[in-house]
């Protein structure tokens, strides 16, 4: 394989040029077919290796009794998740009820307005298996085994029953790359469930890569936000549907000077043990032009206009 020393320099320069060319072609999407073929070949190996690795981890982490306990724990955890989701849904319905009453009052006091609102969330019933993770500690992506052939498209959100995982950034025929919300480049428009205060959730995996957290920023100083508050997607910007659980506030930071406060959030999803995700193939994005105009009965709240970067 190796050339003589006379040609070695030429070959090395050629390799660097090819690498730069590959980068440029990728940026213009012209490398997609080749990536698709290569990753298609690799996919069975990756899936197999991940299954073996996960299996080995499970075996080495305990004996049979521990596995039985783990199964029981999983069952209880799923019940807790279900109850938590129910509780959150009830709280959301209460809030929605209050909001709708306000809107109804607004509509009745403005009979000449034609108002309509709807929320539809359709989830893909097929689980996407996580087959690989980004090789670098500098980026937080996963690769799943569903792609354009299964109807996955760029920008679709990925979730688990526990909460929001991230969004699809790249799609092949039978694979997709998902940017996790813990990545520092990720940002999600969010709302504090108890107060409806809005903010921007950004990844903060750099702080503690072993237990990655998130930060909610741009929450106005006047808004009440406390430890234990649930943070949900606000649906603004249309990237994510409304009311997906992002996490729970663990610490609030306020400064005497400054317009905004920020808080640390523990993600609802355990990103260190992510094996399957659901990809939301279809949902009706929240249209901010349909948000109710603040009325004297509804407390006005400033909203950030920044949308997540693609």
């Amino acid at each position: 394989m190796y050339a003589s020393s006379r040609n070695r320099g030429t070959i090395l320069i050629l390799l660097v040029v090819i690498a730069i060319l590959a980068f440029l072609l990728h940026q213009t999407n012209q490398l997609q077919p080749l990536e698709d073929v290569l990753l298609g070949w690799l996919q069975p190996l990756l899936g197999g290796a991940t299954r073996v690795g996960t299996g080995a981890r499970d075996v080495t982490s305990g004996i049979a009794d521990v596995n039985a306990l783990r199964a029981k724990l999983d069952e209880l955890q799923s019940q807790v998740d279900e109850l938590s989701n129910n509780r959150i849904r009830i709280l959301e319905l209460e809030k929605e009820n209050t909001l709708l009453r306000q809107q109804l009052g607004y509509k009745q006091s403005n009979p000449d307005f034609d108002l309509v609102g709807a929320v539809v969330l359709e989830r893909n019933p097929d689980w996407a298996r996580v087959i690989a993770q980004d090789p670098s500690n500098l980026a937080f992506y996963i690769i799943v085994d569903q792609g354009s052939a299964e109807g996955v498209q760029k920008g679709m959100p990925a979730v688990t029953p526990q909460g929001l995982v991230g969004r699809v950034t790249e799609v092949g025929t039978h694979w997709s790359k998902i940017l996790l919300i813990i990545d520092p480049s990720s940002s999600v428009n969010a709302v504090v469930q108890s107060t409806r205060a809005t903010g921007m959730v950004q990844g903060d995996a750099l702080n503690n890569p072993g237990d990655p957290h998130l930060i909610i920023k741009y929450v106005p100083q006047g808004e009440a936000i406390k430890s234990g508050d649930l943070i949900l997607t606000s649906g603004m910007g249309g990237t994510y549907p409304k009311r997906l659980i992002i996490g729970q506030v663990t610490e609030v930071r306020k400064r005497d000077v400054g317009l905004f406060q920020e808080a640390t959030i523990k993600p609802a999803v355990d990103f260190m043990r992510l094996e399957f995700v659901l990809i939301l193939k279809k949902f009706t994005p929240s249209d901010i032009t349909q948000e109710p105009t603040p009325t004297p009965t509804a407390r006005p709240k400033p909203t950030p206009t920044r949308t997540p970067s693609p």
């Binding site: 090395l12 390799l15 090819i18 990728h26 991940t50 993770q133 090789p135 670098s136 937080f140 480049s185």
Partner: protein
């Protein structure tokens, strides 16, 4: 080296990097096995071989990375090339060379990747990345490199017996 040995070996390294190592993080970080292999081979083998390993490994990693395609290929090729050159000029026979090279290679690799990220995304908090991710990763890589060095040295002796005689 025969492609029949090289390609499966590098494929195995890449698959381990993206499937197994994320399952067993150490303080949340995974060692850069590909970078360790390229750097170590650069210390052992003639100039250019490690760069070619880096090129092949980089392509395999780029396929499995959310970062723009070519970033890992470029960084690993350059790291392989520089380590090969450094090995000839400064490092040969120096005990400090392997750990020092690993530390430098990790910083170099991360700085290039961060440079790409900074040019493509809004902004990069360099100090956060370098202190919280790069520094611990460099230390982790250096420790793991100690384990990888001997198997690779064994492989090198098997593949280059004539050079060892010299």
């Amino acid at each position: 080296m025969s492609l029949w040995i090289l390609v499966p070996l590098l494929l195995l390294v890449a698959i381990l990097q993206v499937t197994w190592l994320p399952l067993i993080p150490i303080f949340g970080l995974k060692p850069d096995l590909a970078l360790i292999v390229v750097t170590t081979w650069g210390l052992l083998a003639p100039i250019g071989e490690a760069a070619q390993w880096g090129f092949v490994l980089g392509i395999l990693l780029d396929l499995n990375s959310g970062l723009p395609f070519g970033v890992h290929t470029l960084t690993l090729t350059i790291v392989g090339l520089l380590v090969g050159l450094g090995q000839r000029a400064f490092f040969r026979g120096n005990l400090i060379a392997p750990p020092a090279t690993m530390l430098l290679a990790t910083f170099f690799d991360h700085v290039i990747i961060l440079g790409f990220l900074a040019s493509l995304t809004e902004s990069i908090n360099w100090s956060d990345y370098l202190i919280r991710i790069t520094l611990p990763t460099a230390i982790l890589n250096t420790l793991v490199a100690g384990l990888v060095f001997f198997p690779l040295e064994f492989l090198y002796r098997r593949l280059h017996p004539q050079i060892e005689v010299e």
